[in-house]
């Protein structure tokens, strides 16, 4: 691959039923690029968790996936409330999700830990009242 391949998505915060759709599309695109299934699975699970978080905790945002020769980078940006205590949020089982979210199948407090587990690097840049940007990479070489 000579040049990086970039996929961009706007993630709608109003429509829960479409939440996760961008990750499904990315999975298909990565298959078309011939990326190994194990890497695709890790990228798509991590992106999916982040995409759902943007919808349920931050009223939507945008997602960019950058495929280069040796890694796949996922950048998720929102202008939501920010995360007050990142190390607390990273703990398995910690969630501020309301019952209405739990009844949709989310709010187990496993998303951020899963994102960390399935990626090689993960950085959270967050500011209260301004939003959150999460950057993750999966090495593919």
């Amino acid at each position: 691959m000579a040049e990086n391949i970039v996929f961009h998505f706007d993630v709608d915060g109003e429509d829960f039923s479409s939440a996760g759709g961008a990750s499904v599309t990315v999975k298909k695109k990565l298959r078309q690029l011939g990326i190994a299934p194990e890497y695709i699975r890790r990228v798509s699970i991590a992106m999916y968790e982040g995409e759902i978080n943007m919808v349920i905790h931050a009223n939507g945002g945008s997602a960019d996936v950058i495929v280069s020769d040796d890694e796949i980078k996922i950048v998720l940006t929102d202008t939501g409330p920010g995360i007050p205590d990142v190390s607390l949020a990273m703990q398995e089982g910690y969630s501020t999700a309301r019952d209405s979210i739990r009844s949709l199948g989310f709010g187990a407090g496993m998303g951020l830990p899963n994102m960390k587990k399935y990626t090689d690097t993960m950085e959270i840049d967050t500011e209260l009242g301004r939003g959150t940007t999460i950057t993750m990479t999966v090495k593919i070489a």
Binding site: F16, S23, V24, R41, I45, R102, F106, A108, M110
Partner: protein
């Protein structure tokens, strides 16, 4: 276990249209209504049993490369969910059994989930 056999064990009704997929194998099972719990452990050729009905169930199964979804307690997936599953080559069925019973039947028939850590 063949998906066809699993369907018999759970007296399940097939909701997706491709019957050739019933010849596929499942090696692992996972039962939960919380999708991030499902996403925590990769299980190759897995089946997801759930009482949750929304499109995220299908997307979660797709992210995990799961091959089959069983809706328990006769929960009925929407046409959009079925279309999405067909597009991802995932077999969808529904069973009248409750989650506990459905899992028990599969477990005692030899479908013992093995975890595969990434």
């Amino acid at each position: 276990m063949k998906i066809r056999e699993l369907k018999e064990l759970l007296s399940a009704e097939l909701m997706t249209d491709d019957t050739t997929l019933l010849d596929g194998e499942v090696f692992n099972a996972c039962c939960s209504d919380m999708m991030s719990d499902v996403l925590a452990f990769v299980k190759d050729q897995g089946v997801l049993l759930t009482g949750l009905v929304n499109e995220q169930v299908v997307r979660t199964a797709s992210m995990m490369d799961m091959v089959c979804i069983v809706f328990v307690r006769d929960k009925t997936p929407t046409p959009d969910m079925i279309r999405l599953a067909e597009d991802c080559d995932i077999v969808v069925m529904k069973s009248a059994y409750r989650a506990y019973e459905a899992c028990g039947k599969l477990y005692t028939s030899g479908l013992v989930a093995r975890e595969h850590h990434n």
